[in-house]
């Protein structure tokens, strides 16, 4: 059976950023249904029942997370994580730019269910166009009575603030995001306490990804059973996969969770480019370990990918062909993580800088045999020793290629030229 997209339906054909167009496609019906027929706990129950798991990387059930907010009379806040910065990931950007009202409807419903006093979008600074589109959509929604006081005649009130970031990957980490939103440097904080207990301004706070929230209107409108009928038992619902690299049609593909990696690459993304043979795939952004071509038949969901040795992560699927040097690829990531480390933790600050220095040496043919042992040992010093997971993430790809492409690293360490050229700019 072919799957009918919901999150991305109409994108590329209709101007869904225009509220009239969005409404003509059934938009804001879920909000209307909730305001007229459902209590906030009924909305919460429906989302819990749907099994919706967070799309930001960790796959934590959204309804369960909302249930962690203590009921102690303090104001609660809802923050949408729209900082999308994981290399290889670009599905949030599409939803924000082309379906902003779905996102607004999603956050309104989530805040209703979790009984939040105010909502925030934390949008990546580079998404200037996305920011403008979201601000405009919000003004339209306010004019229609979907945002503000007495929404659709109910006693539900909700203010939504759009906060623009300014170029820092670490603000995608939920506590870094909160520090930034509070007006400070985007430095992550130790957990516990978790944001649900002590988050924005020390108040109970939920942080959810853009795509997570975009699923909520459909769950409310069509019911949890509809959602559960898509995807796998433990990873229900649709997912937008961002596919890039040496495929014929890089882009975003909305498919049921559990679709195979092979179907995604060969059918939807059009297969490999002429002349390319598959070398490796990262299924979940820069922080995910590589999978080799023998894993093409795995299902892409929150449990099958870990069973195969990687993570679903952000579902930023990067496809590498024979021309991609794994040492060089690891160096790109190392430079990135070293620049983005906030510097609070010594293992991360020093470790990312040294990783990048050693890999640059290897890439330039000036490595030493013991470099590989040093790189392997990072696992012990940089994992589980820091405030946030950036440190752990910074070496997961490296550790996986050190194992799977040991020869390539050994050749670099022996000073041999690797012969793999960076592809010159190809035509559009």
């Amino acid at each position: 059976m072919t799957y009918e997209p919901v999150l991305t339906k109409g994108i590329g054909e209709l101007d869904l950023a225009d509220i009239e167009v969005y409404e003509s496609q059934g938009g804001y019906q879920a909000l209307r249904k909730a305001m007229t027929q459902m209590s906030s706990s009924e909305v919460h129950e429906e989302v819990k029942k749907s099994g919706l798991r967070g799309r930001g990387g960790a796959g934590f059930p959204a309804g369960v997370k909302w249930g962690f907010l203590p009921d102690d009379g303090r104001p609660r806040y809802m923050c949408c994580n729209a900082d999308e910065s994981e290399p290889g990931t670009f599905n949030n950007k599409m939803l924000i730019e082309y379906n902003p009202h779905l996102l607004i409807e999603g956050i309104l419903l989530a805040s209703y269910a979790a009984r939040c006093a105010q909502s925030f979008f934390y949008i990546r600074g580079e998404f200037k166009r996305g920011y403008e589109i979201l601000v405009k959509a919000l003004a339209q929604a306010r004019a229609k009575g979907y945002v503000g006081e007495n929404i659709l005649g109910s006693d539900y009130r909700q203010e939504i603030t759009v906060h623009r970031g300014a170029g820092a990957y670490i603000c995608g980490e939920e506590t870094g995001l909160l520090s930034s939103l509070e007006g400070g440097r985007g430095e992550p904080r130790l957990k516990p306490p978790f944001p649900a207990v002590s988050g924005l301004y020390g108040m109970p706070t939920i942080v959810n990804n853009v795509e997570t929230l975009c699923n909520v209107p459909f769950i409310v409108d069509r019911g949890a059973d509809w959602f559960l009928s898509i995807g796998t038992e433990k990873s229900p619902g649709p997912k937008i996969f961002s596919v890039s690299g040496c495929v014929q049609r890089p882009g975003n593909y909305e498919l049921p969770l559990g679709v195979t990696l092979r179907e995604l690459i060969e059918e939807h993304a059009g297969g490999l480019r002429p002349g390319s043979t598959l070398k490796a795939v990262q299924p979940g952004g820069a922080s995910s370990p590589v999978l080799l071509p023998d894993k093409l038949d795995i299902q892409l969901d929150f449990d099958s990918v870990p069973a195969a040795g990687s993570i679903l992560g952000t579902a930023g699927v990067m496809v590498f062909d024979q021309n991609a040097c794994m040492v060089r690829t690891a160096l790109y990531y190392a430079d990135f993580f070293s620049h983005e480390s906030c510097g609070q933790c010594t293992p991360c600050r020093e470790g990312t800088a040294w990783t990048s220095r050693i890999l640059r040496r290897l890439e330039n043919g000036q490595g030493a045999p013991h470099d590989l042992a040093v790189l392997r040992a990072l696992k012990g010093t940089m994992s589980g020793t820091t405030i946030c997971l950036l440190s752990d993430f910074s070496i997961t790809f490296l550790q996986s290629v050190l194992t799977h492409f040991e020869d390539e690293f050994a050749a670099h360490a022996a000073g041999e030229a690797c012969g793999l050229q960076t592809r010159e700019v190809r035509s559009a």
Binding site: T8, F90, T161, A168, R185, S244, P250, M318
Partner: protein, 179 residues
């Protein structure tokens, strides 16, 4: 002490920004964006003005400002071209593309053309446009599949005075039809 003109000229907007948050301290980033929007970079007098608005010290505003790579503390050209230097763009030729921009503009990365028109930057952050690799932002507006030929066309459009949005509408990345 003299204040930058935006403090008076955009008074209403400043008030609105402060009202968006339960605590005004959260307004530091939007105010930095506003200041940068005025002159293309953030000067000492902007930092001082923001500190006065938020009743805090210039040092604390500076410490926030310096954390974020999109806030510029030195003058930039009217157009800032930023080449994505992360993995997918790297594999699709971001390095030769950057060299090409340097040659055509007669500047190095980090510099601005003598006429003050164009600055060239490379970012290590993936700009979330890997489906259009190699990708470039012009004043944060997206251009994709930037071949050397398209790079020349983008420079020509800038020199012809086209708005960054119009350039992106012409050279941008259309969303793939999903499914």
């Amino acid at each position: 002490m003299s204040s930058p003109a935006w403090v008076v000229e955009r008074k209403g907007e400043i008030k609105e920004i402060l009202s968006r948050y339960p605590y005004e301290k959260s307004a530091v980033m939007p105010l930095l964006h506003l200041a940068q929007d005025e002159r293309g970079w953030i000067a000492d007098e902007d930092i001082e003005a923001i500190a006065r608005i938020l009743e805090t010290t210039p040092a604390s505003v500076e410490s926030v400002c310096s954390f974020y790579s999109l806030f510029h503390r030195t003058p930039k050209g009217r157009y800032v071209i930023t080449v994505c230097g992360n993995i997918q763009c790297g594999l699709s030729g971001a390095d030769p593309l950057t060299r090409h921009f340097e040659e055509r503009l007669g500047i190095k990365v980090g510099q601005t053309t003598d006429d003050g028109l164009i600055s060239l930057l490379v970012t290590g952050e993936c700009v979330a446009a890997c489906d259009g690799a190699p990708a470039v932002q012009v004043n944060l507006e997206y251009c994709g599949h930037v071949t050397l030929e398209r790079a020349d066309q983008i420079i020509a459009a800038i020199r012809a005075g086209d708005d960054a949005k119009a350039i992106s509408d012409r050279f941008g990345i259309s969303p793939k039809k999903a499914g």
